[in-house]
């Protein structure tokens, strides 16, 4: 055993010289964080990580499929070089994000990354990537802290196309308080960081605007009988129920609401996570009258229906999670950035500077994405963050088409 111990100890003391990022000149490009050289005929690598297994599978798969569609619409090429999209499963956990990011980063040819789906994964994954000079574009990671002005240095290479929780909460409170004039709400989250954070932001804003939160409830993501908790809420007589929980839970909630005395006519407001055709099937007839928050822009209303069609042809079913459009936009931002900074040499090889790419991504202005015009702030918030409240009007699963079902009710 002795030699065993000493070997391990000795080995552990070997400090591996981790190649630090340094300025590099390759071909026509000089970059302070290094340059990726892509030989003629080789593909440009873009990574993706999202929840492909575990409880948030639907979200992650829809996001990555959205990104694939963006690549397809873009022609599959940047400056004549084919783009290869390497995806890894990040689940919806911190360790999943960490491992997936490490695996992506292991390939030094990687230029940029889209994802992940969850803030917990982004919190760990984004710095891993950026420490190697790889920028990442978050899809479903909505926690405000990720793009706060005082964020740690590891997030200086992190952008996101989805607006953060605070903005969406602010808009929804505005609608409920100012437009509808409702005074009391009940909230439900499912214990996931995303829904809990959104609910807390909503509650804070709502109280600040003079409203009253009469019930603040939580369920488990695999709960199927929500009638007891709805009964509790009914006892508090809220004017509205706010809940950003995911498709299954929202489906149960809407269907079972009618069975609980006193809640039949209480309106429900949901989050972007269920902005998909899937919610219609999950909730059945009860979906009629259900409102959700979603992007509000012209582009979105015009292009999303055909996106859904293309998605269905390509992957066999319409997007199952609400963030597919943001997956599309994240990929679009990455491709545009790559196109802007890539330089070819005389032999037809391509060079991309890492710092230059990062700067190009942050400099994105008025890029017509699927969710709206994308403009990135200095902190990395690129989301269009123009919201609307949408209302479902038809319970036929094939009727999903933003504009008619759900139709925009505000503004």
């Amino acid at each position: 055993m002795n030699w065993f111990g000493s070997t391990t100890l000795a080995a552990s003391l070997v400090v591996i010289a981790c190649a630090p990022l340094r300025a590099e000149t390759l071909g026509p490009v000089t970059d302070e964080l290094g340059v990726v050289k892509i030989l003629k005929g080789q593909p440009i690598l873009i990574g993706g990580y999202a929840s492909q297994s575990g409880g948030d599978t639907n979200q992650g798969i829809a996001e990555l499929h959205g990104a694939e569609l963006a690549l397809k619409d873009f022609g599959g090429k940047v400056r004549g070089f084919p783009v290869k999209f390497n995806t890894e499963d990040a689940q919806c956990t911190a360790e999943g994000g960490q491992t997936a990011a490490t695996k992506l980063a292991a390939n030094r040819q990687l230029v940029a990354v889209v994802g992940p789906s969850c803030s917990s994964g982004a919190r760990v994954g984004a710095p891993i990537l950026w420490n190697l000079g790889i920028p990442s574009i978050g899809i479903g990671a909505t926690a405000p802290g990720l793009t706060a002005t005082d964020r740690p240095a590891g997030f200086k290479g992190f952008l996101r196309v989805v607006p953060n929780d605070l903005k969406s909460a602010e808009f929804q409170v505005d609608w409920v308080r100012s437009k509808l004039g409702l005074g009391s709400v009940a909230t439900i989250h499912d214990g996931s960081p995303y829904t809990e954070q959104l609910v807390r932001a909503f509650e804070k804003d709502f109280v600040a605007k003079g409203g009253k939160v009469v019930a603040s409830e939580a369920i488990g993501p695999s709960d199927n009988d929500l009638r007891p908790v709805l009964t509790r809420i009914a006892g508090r007589k809220p004017d509205l129920i706010f809940t950003p929980v995911f498709v299954s839970s929202t489906g149960f909630l809407l269907r079972q609401k009618g069975e609980v005395a006193g809640l039949k006519d209480t309106p429900v407001l949901g989050g972007e996570g269920v902005f998909s055709a899937n919610i219609i099937e999950a909730a059945g007839p009860a979906v009629i009258g259900f409102r959700i928050v979603g992007p509000s822009t012209e582009q979105f209303s015009q292009r999303f229906p055909s996106f859904v069609k293309a998605f269905e042809t390509e992957f066999g079913e319409a997007p199952t999670g609400g963030f597919s459009a943001w997956g599309y936009d994240a990929m679009l931002v990455a491709l545009k950035g790559g196109e802007a900074v890539a330089k070819a040499d005389a032999d037809g090889n391509l060079y991309i500077g890492r710092k230059a790419l990062r700067d190009a991504l942050f400099a994105t202005r008025d890029l017509p994405g699927l969710t709206g015009k994308l403009t990135c702030s200095a902190e990395g918030d690129c989301g269009a963050s123009i919201y609307a409240i949408w209302e479902f009007a038809d319970a036929s699963p094939t009727s999903f088409a933003p504009g008619t079902n759900p139709k925009k009710v505000f503004p």
């Binding site: 391990t8 080995a11 491992t99 490490t102």
Partner: protein, 556 residues
């Protein structure tokens, strides 16, 4: 008896073998069905993006090919057993291949011309395009190509079956080496990149997605040749114990060296493997030695992680601010106490009832951690972030590799403690309890003390793993502590070999390392993982590295 003790019976079920033609059709049908399932589940399209040999054959094609080769092989073996000549046997192999090809082609035609997509989402035009090598997608020509290819592959598989045993092994090893090199491209590429003097080889051996054609030939032929040479070289027979020792040394060298010379990802995976080794050694004490089934094991992992978080984080909830080195023993101790508290009430619960009781306790811990009610203390669903990294005299551990070695040292330590415990008085007491609680009692073993000690020690190890985990990730979230972890650890023990310390290491390598390396197949990762569990158990029922006593018992 509980399920965790034994399933024993003297009878077996033998399938009656039919005529060679029937066997060939059967083998072909199996191969065809496997290929169809592989395609319709969507795995074909995903794996079709990855080349094994650059620009020549994709992973998906390889898998389907292997199914058919296997079918032809089985058919030929079956025919040969009935006394058929080599030519006839190859004919039966071709028949199997034909059947497989026909089935697959029929399925593809069905997908192309009948709308199955409302029920089967992967039955897409893309799938049809992917398996069309000649002619229009969905055409008779395309189908004929598939049938022909199937027949050819079946014959080849059959021909391989007719080879002498040593050559057959060599072919198999050559193919396996090639597949391994292609599948785990990133690991080997990283290895080449980091080994001094070999970096120049990397672009020659590996393309963007797989092995280059020349390197593929070299690898396959080289591995096959090596196998033949090794087989024919006369060597003195090695005693089983010596061989085990050599294997053990190899394992250790592998554990120390490979993460050193590959990339951060391999180190990260190795690190996770190390954590699971720690945990599995803990459960090994409870289940492997004392026979106490624990499906709530993740709770101790969580206790360790949260203790570390609350002791080392800058979060306002943190009770104290300790260094990692002080928090580690603290977390271990608190987890041990948790183990004791867990163990006390369930002392008299046995067998599967114990499994359920511990599962329940584990779930209770998980819900408590995520709950709004405990949020002021444990952070609720937002977890606890900004946990300080361990530092030693100004030197901070932050790369996965450094954490890996930390985990390795801890695992070595824990392994030593386990080993000593196993071979001490208490270890024998545990074994006695595992075999028969009542007899152990009659022998004067203090059941209460022995069981409680098992819970306490097991929990302490898991708590230690949790503490390192928290420091590695830098944050803890309740969603990291799912029931799946308990199940995973249990599977590691059984796959490795119950009660065997090297088995724990091998089991973790296989069950944690493999899914990590398959991470790129995202949604199919756990499908392959499940298949791997089933196949391993079929091939190695006692585990990959059974405990010595057990192996002797089965050999006898």
């Amino acid at each position: 008896m509980s399920s965790f003790d034994i399933v024993t019976s003297s009878f077996r079920i033998h399938r009656r073998r039919g005529h060679a033609v029937a066997e060939a059709v059967r083998a072909g049908a199996f191969a065809g069905a496997a290929a169809i399932a592989f395609a319709l589940v969507g795995a074909y399209l995903i794996m079709d993006r990855r080349f094994v040999v650059e620009d020549i054959i994709t992973l998906a094609q390889t898998v389907v090919l292997l199914f058919v080769l296997g079918g032809g092989h089985a058919a030929a073996r079956s025919a040969a057993r009935d006394g058929a000549t080599a030519a006839t046997a190859i004919g039966f192999g071709a028949l199997a291949g034909l059947v497989a090809g026909l089935l697959f082609a029929a399925a593809i035609l069905l997908v192309a011309h009948v709308g199955l997509r409302s029920h089967l989402v992967a039955a897409s035009p893309m799938l049809v395009r992917a398996v069309t090598f000649l002619g229009a997608p969905g055409s008779a020509v395309a189908a004929a190509v598939l049938v022909t290819a199937g027949t050819a592959a079946g014959s080849v598989g059959a021909a391989a079956a007719m080879l002498r045993a040593d050559r057959r092994t060599a072919v198999l090893i050559g193919l396996a080496a090639l597949l391994g090199a292609g599948l785990f491209r990133d690991v080997f590429a990283g290895l080449l990149h980091n080994l001094p003097g070999l970096a120049a080889l990397e672009p020659m051996v590996f393309g963007v997605g797989g092995v280059t054609p020349v390197a593929a030939a070299v690898i396959a032929v080289g591995a096959a040749g090596l196998s033949l040479v090794l087989h024919h070289r006369r060597r003195p027979p090695i005693a089983a114990s010596t061989r085990r020792r050599i294997e053990g040394v190899l394992l250790v060298v592998l554990l120390v060296l490979v993460p050193l010379v590959t990339d951060a990802f391999v180190a990260q995976v190795a690190m996770l493997v190390g954590l699971y080794v720690l945990m599995a050694m803990g459960l090994n004490i409870e289940l492997g030695l004392a026979g106490l089934v624990d499906l709530g094991f993740v709770a101790f992992f969580a206790v360790g992680a949260y203790t570390m978080a609350l002791a080392c984080s800058s979060d306002p909830r943190a009770a104290v601010h300790l260094s990692f080195w002080l928090a580690l023993p603290l977390a271990t101790t608190i987890a041990a106490v948790a183990g004791l508290l867990f163990g006390l009430p369930v002392l008299r619960v046995r067998g599967d009832y114990l499994a359920m009781a511990t599962l329940g306790l584990g779930e209770i811990v998980r819900v408590l951690v995520v709950s709004d009610a405990m949020k002021p203390y444990l952070g609720g669903s937002q977890g606890i972030i900004e946990i300080a990294r361990p530092s030693l005299g100004g030197w901070t551990l932050d790369t996965p590799l450094q954490f890996y070695f930390l985990a390795l040292i801890l695992a070595a330590l824990v392994g030593l403690v386990s080993w000593r415990l196993q071979h001490s008085r208490i270890g024998r007491a545990w074994l006695a309890i595992r075999e028969d609680e009542d007899v152990a009692q009659a022998l004067g073993i203090d059941l209460v003390a022995a069981k409680l000690l098992a819970y306490t020690v097991g929990a302490a190890f898991a708590g230690m793993a949790g503490a390192v985990f928290a420091a590695l990730i830098g944050s803890v979230y309740p969603h990291s502590f799912q029931l799946a972890i308990s199940i995973n650890v249990l599977a590691i023990l059984v796959i490795g070999g119950l009660g065997s310390l090297p088995g724990v290491v091998v089991g973790s390598l296989v069950l944690i390392g493999l899914p990590e390396l398959l991470r790129e197949f995202g949604e199919f990762r756990y499908l392959f993982y499940g298949i791997a569990l089933v196949v391993t158990m079929h091939l190695k029922t006692e585990g990959l590295w059974p405990a010595v006593a057990r192996q002797e018992a089965t050999d006898a």
